[in-house]
């Protein structure tokens, strides 16, 4: 039956509206999908950074030199686990390092985590704007981003900068001012005495720091989500409880312990073998941060493959 001219115009408008809405939904879904897969994309980013860094390292230094350095690092680590001269002194040193390296980083870690959690929530909410997805997914996405990647990896990278440079520069200064030689002459194994407490302290305290970071991040997300009106408190809390797999927390803690070992051992290695003067101490400090970061990123990829896939 032929349609009336007015009716045909109405149908065309309705058809256009439907197509426009469909296109909008499609765009929103794509944006949401991209945001939701941020973690996977980060992994590819990490790989790229690793490749670029390895290329630069290989370009600048001789491959044999790297292998020799790695061998030296392994011997250094073996020395760390030698029997200490006095166990009672060792316990005191571990407690001291927990305070110096760990406890003094609490405020920094919590502060960064609060704000990053807040930003992750706001970005996730912005990507979900007007979509059919339930609002509790904001809490869900924030929790997973914080738990899986931000707290264990990104905070460890930040700590590699803060703690790693501290360790390398303090050991480097001790080396150039002959304090390490003084220990050796006294018959004290300087690696056991100076490095072991740092490694033990970080491996013990970093998981606690990362747990604080996780709580900080989620609380930051909850505050920003509810204050901005993107979701209600109940929706956010429901989201962070939704589909929670405890192994994800275990995975994050395993990563953190390994990263703590990397930060403490690699930074100590670079600081301990400093040669020269003040300038070299600065260079050791830089090398410590670069190498710790590279090792963290590579091991993050390997661990993720092993534990999650």
């Amino acid at each position: 039956m032929p349609s009336k001219p007015g009716q045909s115009q109405e149908l065309t408008t309705a058809h256009e509206l439907i197509s426009k809405e469909a296109s909008n939904v499609k765009t929103r879904n794509v944006v949401f999908f991209v945001a939701f897969k941020l973690i996977s994309v980060l992994k590819i980013g990490y790989l790229l950074i690793v490749v670029v860094n390895l290329h630069l390292i290989l370009y600048k230094t001789h491959a044999m030199g790297l292998i020799a350095s790695f061998g030296k690092y392994l011997l250094f680590i073996a020395d760390v686990f030698r029997k200490p001269e006095r166990r009672s002194v060792m316990y005191k040193l571990v407690v001291k390092e927990v305070y110096e390296l760990g406890f003094k980083s609490v405020l920094f870690v919590v502060f960064v985590s609060l704000f990053v959690g807040a930003v992750v929530t706001l970005q996730t909410a912005a990507n979900m704007e007007g979509s059919w997805m339930p609002r509790y997914l904001i809490g869900y996405a924030t929790r997973d981003a914080i738990l899986l990647e931000f707290s264990p990896t990104i905070i460890s990278l930040l700590l590699a900068g803060k703690i790693g440079s501290n360790i390398a520069s303090s050991l480097g200064t001790m080396r150039v001012t002959e304090q390490i030689d003084a220990l050796e002459v006294m018959g004290v194994n300087p690696v056991t005495y100076l490095v072991r407490p740092k490694i033990f302290a970080l491996m013990f305290f970093n998981p606690l720091l990362i747990c604080m970071s996780m709580f900080g991040g989620v609380i930051g997300g909850w505050i920003s989500g509810t204050l901005s009106g993107e979701c209600t408190s109940a929706e956010f809390i429901s989201g962070i409880q939704y589909d929670f797999v405890p192994f994800k927390a275990v995975y994050a803690i395993i990563k953190t312990i390994l990263f703590a070992f990397i930060i403490a051992s690699v930074s100590s290695f670079h600081g301990f073998f400093t040669k020269g003067g003040a300038l070299e101490v600065g260079r050791s400090s830089t090398r410590a941060v670069v190498f710790s970061s590279v090792f963290i990123i590579v091991s993050n990829y390997i661990l993720t493959q092993l534990l999650l896939n």
Binding site: E85, T177, G187, V188
Partner: protein, 250 residues
């Protein structure tokens, strides 16, 4: 007594010590003198076991240390005190903790006994009421004295000093020199001092080894220096106008 024989030490292809032989006597201040870069510090580090010589032997009262591992040298190291050029005090510890440290690591004394010993050693080097100051809060001369107190706190048999009065004013330098000599005589230690300070040589040089370009060029006492005809030694010792005048007058 420490005996060294034909010590050769090289870094890559550069030979720093060339067959150096000498006997450092017990109860005397043994001085190793020579220009900067002549190999004094390398020789001292070989004696301390921080560097491994290419050849030769180093004998501490019958114990040959060349080729021995750190583990085997542990017993000997407890009998060694060392005063580094810059003091090498631990920055994170105060004066008392610095001197206390070797006792905490190696002695079985009670805490009170350890503190008594620390205070005794600090008093011996003329330092009192500085126990709670940190190395950054004391002068260069005080740092050297704290380093000496730390070096003698375990009653060592051997005392090594690497340029103990470098960077100090003449008065404080003489105080340090005299203190080292007094301690050496008092405890009957074998003291080895690296220096290129001629005041120290003339003040406390009971036995002197002169090294030039890694070779043992001359040995004797401070009295022998004046009468020696060794051209290298004369050129080194009497390089300043003051000492030339002293020599002329003597």
């Amino acid at each position: 007594m420490i005996e060294i024989k034909n010590i050769v030490k090289a870094f890559a292809t550069k030979e720093v010590l060339k067959e150096v032989s000498f006997t450092f006597e017990q109860g005397k201040t043994n001085l190793v003198i020579g220009q900067s870069g002549s190999g004094k510090t390398v020789l001292l580090k070989c004696l301390l076991g921080l560097h491994e010589p290419e050849s030769g032997f180093i004998n501490f009262d019958g114990l040959d240390i060349v080729g021995k591992s750190n583990k085997n040298l542990k017993g000997l190291r407890k009998q060694i005190g060392m005063v580094f050029q810059g003091g090498a005090l631990f920055d994170s510890m105060n004066v008392e903790q610095n001197v206390l440290y070797p006792l905490q690591m190696f002695s079985k004394l009670s805490k009170e006994e350890m503190l008594q010993r620390v205070n005794f050693c600090l008093k011996r080097v003329n330092l009192e009421n500085v126990n709670h100051l940190f190395p950054s809060e004391i002068s260069g001369g005080m740092k050297k004295r704290v380093a000496i107190a730390r070096a003698i706190v375990l009653n060592p048999k051997y005392l090594f000093c690497d340029e103990p009065n470098s960077g100090l004013d003449p008065y404080t330098a003489t105080l340090i020199d005299n203190l080292l000599q007094e301690i050496t005589h008092e405890y009957g230690m074998t003291t080895v001092i690296n220096t290129h300070d001629m005041n120290s040589v003339m003040e406390i040089g009971e036995k002197i080894l002169f090294i030039k370009e890694g070779r043992n060029v001359w040995e004797g006492t401070k009295a022998d220096i004046i009468t020696s005809e060794n051209q290298h030694l004369q050129g080194f010792v009497f390089s300043s106008e003051l000492f030339k005048t002293i020599k002329r007058k003597s």
